[in-house]
């Protein structure tokens, strides 16, 4: 049996699939989010050094991970769209970018809320904070470039080039804590060694990470459906499926 790998590469067949997938990600996002917040606020023990303030990591860490990861995915889809000239890939990249920007903003915001009680300052010009801020600027630049060009195909390609140029920044953010000796502490979670935090904290954080994943996927799917609808508004199949 051969699989047609490209079946869902066309907007026409992806549109209904995306519609069916949205609830499958939206519901887990809500449920896991509630469980994660419950563990974070009521189950996880108080930290011996940071007190109650550390609880913001249940939002901060997943948001920061997603902000970097979504940028990689945006660049991946943008590059795919540039290389194979597939419309849907570029639409995926556009659909993900606002969520990525939101995650970056949330990571910066919660980080500063956390920094106030523990470091005693809202903001420091530390390598990781600075590079995360640059990531936010890159998202904004990507979205404004895409919005400034009227021809959608040209907008796809031009913003794809920018997304690929900006990829350089992601490893810099990720390794900034190791390369420069900074105020921001190193990662407490890694695959290769035992995590340096209590098990309930870890579980709470992982649950939140999955919630953020599910949320991002669901929102991106909703947005890509809207993009398809906007760009294919004159096609016959869309009129049929939507019954206009």
């Amino acid at each position: 049996m051969s699989i047609n790998w490209f079946k869902y590469a066309s907007p026409q067949s992806f549109y209904p699939l995306a519609g069916r997938m949205v609830p499958w990600f939206m519901v887990p996002a809500a449920v896991l989010g509630l469980i994660g917040l419950y563990i974070g606020f009521f189950v996880a023990p108080t930290d011996s050094q940071q007190g109650e303030a550390y609880r913001i990591i249940f939002i901060h860490v997943p948001a920061a991970w997603m902000s970097m990861f979504i940028y990689m995915v945006v660049a991946f889809w943008a590059g795919l769209g540039l290389a194979f000239n597939t419309r849907l890939s570029s639409m995926m990249a556009h659909a993900l970018a606002p969520t990525g920007a939101l995650m970056t903003f949330v990571a910066l915001w919660t980080g500063s809320l956390w920094g106030r009680p523990t470091w005693g300052t809202w903001w420091v010009w530390d390598a990781r904070l600075t590079s995360e801020l640059i990531l936010l600027f890159l998202y904004i630049g990507y979205m404004s470039l895409a919005a400034a060009i009227d021809d959608p195909r040209r907008a796809d390609k031009a913003s794809a080039v920018l997304a690929l140029v900006g990829v350089v920044n992601v490893p810099i953010i990720y390794f900034s804590v190791q390369w420069w000796n900074t105020l921001h502490q190193g990662a407490s979670v890694s695959i290769s060694r035992a995590p340096s935090m209590a098990a309930t904290m870890l579980i709470g954080m992982l649950v939140m990470v999955f919630a953020f994943w599910a949320y991002s996927i669901a929102v991106a799917l909703i947005r890509v459906r809207l993009l398809i609808m906007e760009r294919e508004r004159n096609s016959a199949w869309l009129r049929e499926t939507e019954g206009v």
Binding site: F137, S144, L145, A148, A158, V161, L162, V165, N169
Partner: protein, 214 residues
């Protein structure tokens, strides 16, 4: 490239505007901050580097803009030479008309800020290595925003975040000399950035130009 240089020579005012923009911005700081020598020496590297960034950005629109407007760029793209070569020529012309004058005048401006002699040397070196990176990265931004509405503001939005690493290490090199910890490491990183930008930026700009010319 010879043609670009010739045009730049004929339009001397364009080049001089960028040059004096740089000089004036740098000179504004002592007036705004106050003439205390200690403070000036501390802020000098950052001020001169930020001014260089802005000056390089100010002239980016000219890199491809006029050629795009009158159709020359399309003709150049049709010539048998690869587009990458064209981009490298354009970048080199841009650097010779904006980057190099900044490098030459920077030591004089450094004197205004009471920088010691060894810091002045580091300042020139860091600018000499750093300004080509600015021209290279700028070419990507300039070619992406060709013919886009609100192009100039958009270019700064795209290019300035990419300039940040150059700024950090360029100003860092001078600051390290002032404090006496040695600038060698910073300059090496700047050189590495130049090498990477030299390999990838013309290629990315050429891809962006092809998209703009479609």
């Amino acid at each position: 490239m010879a043609r670009d240089l010739l045009i730049a020579l004929r339009h001397r005012s364009d080049v001089l505007t960028t040059f004096f923009f740089f000089v004036i911005v740098v000179s504004l700081y002592p007036l705004g901050v106050g003439p205390e020598r200690e403070t000036l020496r501390e802020i000098a590297p950052g001020v001169i580097w930020v001014a260089a960034l802005l000056a390089a950005m100010l002239s980016l629109a000219r890199m491809f803009g006029t050629d795009y407007a009158d159709g020359t760029l399309e003709q150049l793209a049709l010539t048998p030479q690869p587009l990458v070569v064209l981009v490298i020529a354009k970048v080199a012309a841009h650097w010779l008309t904006t980057g190099l004058p900044l490098v030459l005048v920077a030591p004089v401006l450094g004197l205004q800020f009471d920088l010691p002699a060894d810091s002045l040397a580091t300042l020139s070196w860091s600018l000499l290595i750093g300004t080509p990176v600015l021209s290279l990265l700028g070419s990507v931004g300039a070619s992406l925003t060709l013919g886009v509405r609100g192009g100039a503001a958009l270019t700064s939005l795209l290019v300035l975040p990419l300039y940040v690493p150059v700024l950090i290490f360029g100003a860092g090199a001078v600051a390290a000399t002032v404090t006496g910890s040695g600038a060698h490491g910073h300059l090496t990183v700047l050189g590495a950035m130049l090498m990477i930008a030299l390999v990838f930026a013309p290629w990315a700009s050429a891809a962006a130009l092809r998209i703009s010319l479609e």
